[in-house]
Amino acid sequence: MAVKKRYKDLTLLQRIYIPEIVKGLSLTMKNMFKPKFTMRYPEEKFIPPASYRGRPVLVQETNGEERCVACGLCARVCPALAIEVQAGETEREKERYPEKFEINMLRCIFCGLCEEVCPEEAIVMSKDYELAFSSRGDAIYGKDKLLTPVIQLQDRIEFLRSYK
């Protein structure tokens, strides 16, 4: 193995160190007067791009029905076991529907695998990042909280299609 020289040869001025300290100090001083990046949340809200993976939601068609057929693939692929699905039978053309669809938001790790595996494009990652609950029970989101009109999820769905 070739011997690697670890240090640069420093000039005398650099070895005295003080000019370098002054350089460093002036850099931080300059930064103190630069514009700040901090967003004043919650007065200002962050609007995520389409690639953002927020809380997973179920797509609700315009007729009010869910796309989900309760195949359980999301529950199977979920590495954190956050999803629980109970299928039921309906008279609709797709004879299977989720009688119960629950995501435990304490378990969810926002990996997006459920969205990736879904054969029906029925579960997608929304832009919702404001998740707060005051009990373990509240953290389990049922169909009432998960169903989101398809119109609100349009840009995420387009984003997904562009990468398929």
Binding site: C71, E84, E102, N104, E120
Partner: protein, 563 residues
């Protein structure tokens, strides 16, 4: 023995065997849909095409008789491309609705599409549409789109159930399956077609959409429906039994089981009327209490001065395990010196047939008698006990896991005459509600044990559902992924656990309270004592019984009757 070469490996076969059967006997599986070991050969799925040297074309392994010196290639380039082509054809009109289909996860078509198909279809036209959701019978739903016309279900009805009910109609891509006019798929074995259907065309109406197969755990055990003792698997999710499927055992049930066993022998496990914790009658009504109190009460009552030991009778159970009955007999003899012990025979001539179902609708009558549930020389038999109660000679009765009142409603008045009635029961049935003390017994899905079928074959039952004192992780039950990783905060892990115990455990505890210690820690300890003390079971243990049971020296009942 003649031999032929399959994929470079020389295998032996019996004269007249097909290639696929010979391969299977040697542990090699040639892909197949329509072929089934115990059905006739139909040869219409074409997926078992293999290349045989010196034959001009590929042949189907299921219909080609093996001959000495044959050289067969099941994975040659030609065979593989043929298989791919067949798979593409089969998938042309298949709807690929696996997300909706219940068969997903145990579907042969799905498996082969992964392992033997190129994964892409060149078919761009519209798929054919057939009738979906057709109820072929009370228990079976048919989906025409998914059917690949293998004819297994038709052949099953013709050959095994012996009630031809199904047939193909139409031709070409319009072919579909219907019942004969005026017929329904309602033979006593109809639900086996769900198991043998290689796709999701035939589904179990009782189990439909209840759970994904990969979410359940499966435990090997024995059906309790009749004296046949079909080998089965119990499928459990969230501590609830959801379905039963048969398990192959050529000496008992081959691949099959009846619809009664499949549907009626598990629902009581999670029924609302389960006995959950011990109950003692106080001020006229049964009230829940603790185990310690219930056992102390039972001991006090049994030893009370209201009756002497000849006035106590014991009724064992052909529904309970060998272990339970053995400890029951030992309890009666050692603690009370009682000879009044017998069990009630349950027989239903209309139930039996010459396929699998038996007239004796209890799973363990042979075993119960063998381990000592029979009257002593001067003791009373079952009818004697009942008469004794009527005449006031028997004042206390101890019943083990048998609902004798439902079997004979006239007994309700008879039992009312008793001073003391103690019952081990799984559910609040007609007998249990009459009792003074009800001790909750574990069901067959919640305990270890052995039962003896009508052939004298000893078979193991194993727990599949956990109770308060039985833990899934500790007690060698099979565990699904959800069981393994669930926490107490997960809703899928909050299934109810009943406070019930194996009868032998309850009896051993009660015996200790009465001053007669029985040293049994496990069901296996009880069985080991049985094998030492009962000649018919000598030399047997849980290991030798294994998954498929073992023949004991017991004579089948019929043979005794004939002799």
């Amino acid at each position: 023995m003649p031999k032929f070469v399959l994929d470079g490996k020389e295998i032996e076969f019996k004269q007249g065997q097909t290639i696929i059967q010979a391969a299977k006997d040697n542990g090699i599986t040639i892909p197949h849909f329509c072929w089934h070991e115990s059905l006739s050969v139909s040869g219409n799925c074409r997926v078992c095409l293999v290349e045989v040297e010196k034959m001009p074309k590929l042949v189907i392994a299921c219909a080609t008789i093996a001959s000495d010196g044959m050289v067969v290639h099941s994975a040659s380039e030609k065979a593989l491309s043929a298989r791919n082509a067949v798979m593409e054809f089969l998938l042309i009109n298949h709807p690929l609705d696996c997300p909706i289909c219940d068969e997903a996860g145990e579907c042969k078509l799905q498996d082969y599409a992964y392992s033997h198909s190129v994964g892409e279809s060149r078919f761009v036209e519209e798929k054919t549409h057939k009738d979906k959701r057709v109820p072929l019978g009370p228990y079976i739903m048919f989906d025409g789109d998914r059917c690949i016309s293998c004819s297994r279900c038709i052949r099953f009805c013709d050959e095994i159930a012996k009630e031809p009910e199904l047939t193909f109609v139409k031709r070409g891509d319009r072919v579909t399956i219907v019942t004969f006019p005026g017929e329904e798929l309602d033979n006593p074995y109809s639900m086996n077609v769900v198991d043998i259907c290689p796709v999701g065309a035939l589904t179990n109406r009782d189990f439909r959409f209840k759970a994904r197969v990969w979410d359940m755990s499966a435990n090997n055990t024995i059906c309790q429906g009749c004296a046949r003792g079909c080998n089965i698997e119990l499928w459990v999710r969230n501590n609830e039994v959801l379905r039963i499927t048969p398990r192959q055992n050529d000496r008992v049930n081959s691949f099959w089981m009846c619809d009664h066993g499949r549907l009626e022998t598990f629902k009581f496990i999670n029924a609302k009327d389960r006995v959950d914790g011990p109950y003692v009658r106080r001020e006229g009504s049964l009230q829940k209490t603790s185990w310690d109190e219930a056992l102390a009460d039972a001991a006090k009552e049994l030893k009370s001065s209201r009756f002497n030991r000849n006035e106590i009778a014991f009724i064992g159970s052909p529904y309970a395990t060998l272990e339970d009955n053995y400890v029951f007999a030992k309890f009666a003899a050692a603690v009370f010196g009682s000879k009044n012990i017998d069990f009630m025979r349950h027989s239903d001539p209309s139930f039996g047939d010459d396929i699998l179902r038996r007239e004796d609708i209890t799973p363990n009558s042979l075993g119960a008698e063998a381990v000592g549930i029979r009257p002593g020389q001067t003791g009373l038999n079952f009818d004697g006990i009942i008469n004794g109660i009527k005449e006031g000679k028997i004042k206390a009765l101890y019943i083990l896991e048998d609902d004798i009142v439902s079997a004979d409603t006239a007994l309700e008045e008879v039992l009312a005459k008793l001073d003391l009635l103690i019952v081990h029961a799984t559910n609040f049935n007609k007998t249990a509600v009459l009792a003074d003390i009800v001790l909750p017994a574990a069901t067959y899905a919640e305990k270890n044990g052995t039962i003896v079928n009508f052939q004298g074959r000893v078979q193991r039952i194993k727990p599949a559902v956990s109770t308060v004192e039985l833990d899934r992780a500790m007690d060698s039950m099979s565990m699904s992924r959800l069981d393994k990783f669930g926490s107490i905060y997960d809703r899928w892990n909050q299934g109810h656990k009943y406070d019930a115990r194996s009868s032998w455990k309850i009896l051993a505890a009660l015996s200790s309270v009465l001053g007669n210690k029985m040293k049994f820690n496990l069901a296996e300890d009880v069985f080991n004592e049985i094998s030492r003390s009962v000649q018919a079971f000598s030399g047997l243990d849980y290991d030798s019984i294994g998954e498929h049971g073992v023949q004991s020296k017991l004579q089948p009942l019929e043979k005794i009757e004939k002799a």
